[in-house]
Every structure is written in structure tokens, then in C-alpha cells.
Symmetry: C2
Subunit: 225 residues, 2 copies
């Protein structure tokens, strides 16, 4: 019997917590409820069998769309999980991706009986080894957030530095000095100031920034460093 090949994706977005609607958004991931054994009724990562005439990344993006009706702003391969006993019915190797989607869009994302968003840090017991996979994806996201510039993928076309900083703070779970954060971002030169500012707040209007045009959908991997 040949080894089965599956593709799953850990999808991250910042969403308001439904139980605390006035609090700031929290890091969330969508899960799908399994309808079949093994683990019927349990929540699991969106995914499925790899398609014959699609690259693995394309399959991941397609599954992501089928689950959330969203397109990823960032997509990267996480790991290939291949332990012998990880699937409970035959041997299955899962190539897992992780993705970031825009938070404003994620608000409107499909949710239903069998698709629901969960706080990334408070998941129930998932099917298979999916808890371990999410933990690893979380570790990668937080790691990458510190040395890379991917936070913009959670935001829209333009954003203030305060918004960008909030993204970092939510993901990394600690407060950041606004002054130092500003200089860090500016020196990284990954972001360019626009002419516009946001008025309406009871304070000095912040400038809007835009991400540098050379954006790659899927970073890392053997392609772009």
C-alpha cells in the first residue's frame, strides 16, 4: 500500500475575541470539524489529500480558500510530518504549511457548524498530532516575527506604525517601546511612508505607511532568501 500524502495549513489571523468584544484582537486559527473516523467530531487543521497536478503550495492555498474563502497574504512551508503512527488509519505523510491572512478580511471569513476560529493559545484536543503541529507553527511565527518583517501580512494596503506595532505585540505577547519600534522598522527599510495621515483621533495624526512593493507571497524555501 502506497504512503498517503496530505497537505494541511495552519492559518493565522488577528481577530476580535468573541467572548470579549471590546478587548484587542487575538491570534486565531480556523479549524474544521472532522466528520469521519478516525477522530470524528474532533477539530483539525484544514487540509486534505494532495492533488496530482498542483504544487504543494498551491494545494495549501486552495484548501485555505475552501475553508475560509480567503487568500493568504503570506504562505510558507512548515514541515513534513512523517512519523509511522501519526495517522491512525494507514501511513500518511503531511506536508504542512502556515499562512497569514489579513485581519479585516478574516472578520468576515466563513464560519459555520464545521468551521470555527479558535484562539491559537487555547486550543481543544485536536485530531491526530495537530496540537503539536500548531505549537510548532506558533513557535515559527513568533520566531520569524522577531527577525523578519512579515507582520504587515496581517494588515491592509496601508497602515500606521502603531497598528504594525500592535500586531507585533499581540503575536509576541509583550509590549514594545513605540519609539524604538519606529526606528527599528524605519531602519529596516521594508516600509515606505505615504503622504497621508489618519485624522480623527484625539491626538497628533499618525502617518500611513505602505509595504515595499517587492512583496513575495511565499518567502523562504529554496527560492527567495
Amino acid at each position: 500500500m502506497p504512503i498517503g500524502l496530505a497537505v494541511s495549513t495552519v492559518i493565522f489571523a488577528l481577530r476580535p475575541d468573541s467572548s470579549r468584544p471590546d478587548e484587542p484582537s487575538i491570534l486565531s486559527i480556523p479549524l474544521v470539524r472532522r466528520t469521519r473516523d478516525p477522530f470524528a467530531g474532533r477539530w483539525s487543521l484544514p487540509g486534505g489529500v494532495a492533488d496530482d497536478d498542483e504544487s504543494l503550495a498551491d494545494t495549501a492555498a486552495r484548501k485555505l480558500y475552501e475553508t475560509t474563502q480567503l487568500a493568504p497574504a503570506y504562505l510558507e512551508q512548515l514541515y513534513a510530518f512523517g512519523d509511522v503512527d501519526r495517522a491512525w488509519s494507514g501511513r500518511v505523510v503531511s506536508v504542512v504549511y502556515w499562512a497569514l491572512v489579513r485581519s479585516e478580511l478574516a472578520d468576515q471569513a466563513a464560519e459555520g457548524e464545521n468551521v470555527r476560529w479558535f484562539a491559537a493559545d487555547e486550543l481543544p484536543d485536536l485530531a491526530f498530532d495537530h496540537n503539536r503541529i500548531v505549537e510548532y507553527a506558533l513557535w515559527r511565527l513568533r520566531n520569524k516575527m522577531e527577525y523578519s518583517r512579515i507582520a504587515h501580512a496581517f494588515l491592509g494596503e496601508t497602515f500606521t506604525l502603531a497598528e504594525l506595532r500592535r500586531v507585533h505585540e499581540i503575536v509576541l505577547q509583550r509590549t514594545l517601546d513605540p519609539a524604538n519600534f519606529r526606528r527599528q522598522i524605519e531602519s529596516s527599510a521594508t516600509v515606505v511612508a505615504t503622504d497621508e495621515v489618519v485624522s480623527g483621533g484625539r491626538h497628533r495624526p499618525p502617518r500611513l505607511y505602505r509595504y515595499d512593493t517587492t512583496i513575495r507571497l511565499a518567502d523562504n524555501g529554496p527560492l527567495g532568501g
Copy 2:
């Protein structure tokens, strides 16, 4: 037709260059000559079809042993390559690992008509997308060498700091300040001094060091951080 699943390994060792036997060792990888189409006669990474009742890492280690009669001192998953057209006969997804083996052992490693060691930076045109894979593995190795402490995997049980420094220099292709290298390693606390020194050189006998006992065969991945 189901998607084929293969496991390949990029194996690194430091070996003396056969054409310049008096020069220091160079970063080398063993390749196997393909005997069948596609790419019959071309050199390629050791590997093969994934085994049903073996983890992917175990398969990688086994292929490594079958090719070189060696055991890896370090083994880590590199990437799952899954582009549609990368194999020229049907769809094949390759989970690729990279490994480090001890240099003294690699000297005696099997070499024959269909297995040969090449300088990692001067490879011929390989089968499939293996050139690109090796390039990525090289990038990962050099990257990891800078922030992690894996160089010892090229060496034996005990070693001098000069030997460890040479490993870094060969892999990173630049000279390192002995004084600063020493402090860097000592402050990282991954290495412990033994009582022994090496006499015989025309200079002050260097102390031997041993790696800290808590060694993991396969680092990274979802397991150990």
C-alpha cells in the same frame, strides 16, 4: 495514479581534496550515479522511495548508511520539494534531509564507480532539481553554522578549539579571529574543557574540549527547539 514519495539526503563532510592532498579539507558531499532514465548516468543525491514502516528521518539515515556506510552525527529535515514537473516521470514529492558526518570517518567512506564525493561548491549538472536542492542545503548549513553550534558534528569525541574553528572557516569560507572565536564558544557553554591537552606541536599544547553531553541527533523540527 498516486503521488510518489521519495526521501533524499544532502550529506556533508569535510574531506581532503584529492587533487590537492596537502591543502586543508573542503566541504564535500557524496553523490550516486543514476543507472536508469530519466537522467541515466547523471549524478544525484542519495535517496529513494520512502519506506512504509519507517519514519522519514529513519529512511534518510538508512539511505545515508547504504550510500556511505556511515551514521549521521547530525540530521535535519531540509524541505519537501513538490513542484509538479520536478520529476520527469510522473509526480514525485521528495522530502529532503541534510546531514553532517564525522570527517575522519568520511575519509574511509565507501567510494566506487557509482558513488563519489564532490566539492560542495563545484558540482556538475545533477539529475532533476538536485542542484537547487544542494544550494539550499548549503545555505541552511552556513546559516545555521553562524547562530547554532553544530560544527562539532564534523569532529570526533574531543577536539581543540582550533579544530573547531577550522570547521567554521572551511564551511563559512572566511577566516575567524582565534581570540574572539574562543570567547564566543566559551560563552555559548555548549562545550566543556577536558583535562587533556595535545602535545607534539611546536607550540603551546592546546586543550581538548568535549561537547556538552545533551546531544540531539536531529535538531530543530517540531521536537527540540
